[in-house]
Symmetry: C2
Amino acid sequence: VPRDSDHVHAAPALPAALRGAGRRVTRQRREIWDALVAEPDRHLSADEIAERVRRRLPLVNPSTVYRTLDVLVDEGLLLRTRLGADRAFYEPAREHPHHHLVCERCGRVDHVHEEALGDLAGRLDAAAGFALGGAELTFFGLCADCRDSEPGSRTTPGS
Amino acid sequence: VPRDSDHVHAAPALPAALRGAGRRVTRQRREIWDALVAEPDRHLSADEIAERVRRRLPLVNPSTVYRTLDVLVDEGLLLRTRLGADRAFYEPAREHPHHHLVCERCGRVDHVHEEALGDLAGRLDAAAGFALGGAELTFFGLCADCRDSEPGSRTTPGS
DNA sequence: ATTTATGCAAACGTTTTGCATGTGT
DNA sequence: ACACATGCAAAACGTTTGCATAAAT
């Protein structure tokens, strides 16, 4: 079971990536980025990110967090997902496109590589003449741990 | 190209479905349902539904619309999707589970039957030991019409 | 008569914005 | 010095809720 302890996109130097795009490297941006890479397998909401950043930089403003997340997504450093919820979750971008398995019992979120799902592009082309670009695929069900062990505590999306 | 002019879940008699569940049949609920079945291939937001209902029943309150949509989703008469956006879209429930192809050029939304995507349940089980329940799959790309014809006008999600 | 649904207004959680100030380059 | 980023407060957005009234059963 590839529980996806993947190589995180070569942990790109944040400063290089930002400066290369004509953007500036600030303390806030570094802290926000650091919070994300510190928990690369979790899917953090803007709020959770703000909370973690506040531990080191107590005065960050929420709007700065939102603006920075937008920038990092635009630069391709972060991935934004909705996981079927009404708010966004963020994770460091990875080398291979992947999708999410949300356990309805324990809340855990796993990854599947897109290629493990078969030739979806080919199937969509064949079925509808559709030229696949991106996709946001969220699967709900029971994770390997929960599928047989009966009792379980419900949680919110995390790792 | 099965452009999905599917049979809409046998257009269940709304009154029967509601009364059978101990719920009441009101003018508002009938109008909301009618607005949805009048455009079975579109994906309407709560707001767009309210607008259509107001044409026949000008005083409906938005909260009534939201509450009714919740009821109809709970009763399995409607499907709720997010289509990668930050608000919900509704469509009459269909017989077969399906997923969405969103054209990034013209905004059109097509359907693919789940079975046309291959044995996803089997693949997820094999890859991660995951027991698939439901899924919300949104594919982005170019629809058959847009994929070669260059010029196009961007629109919001519709049929 | 009873119980459920509606309208209204207010609140909610998340995210966005305008503008003056502060900071990286 | 300049452009860009931040803090702040306010607002926008989609949605939910409490409560009195109205309507369906």
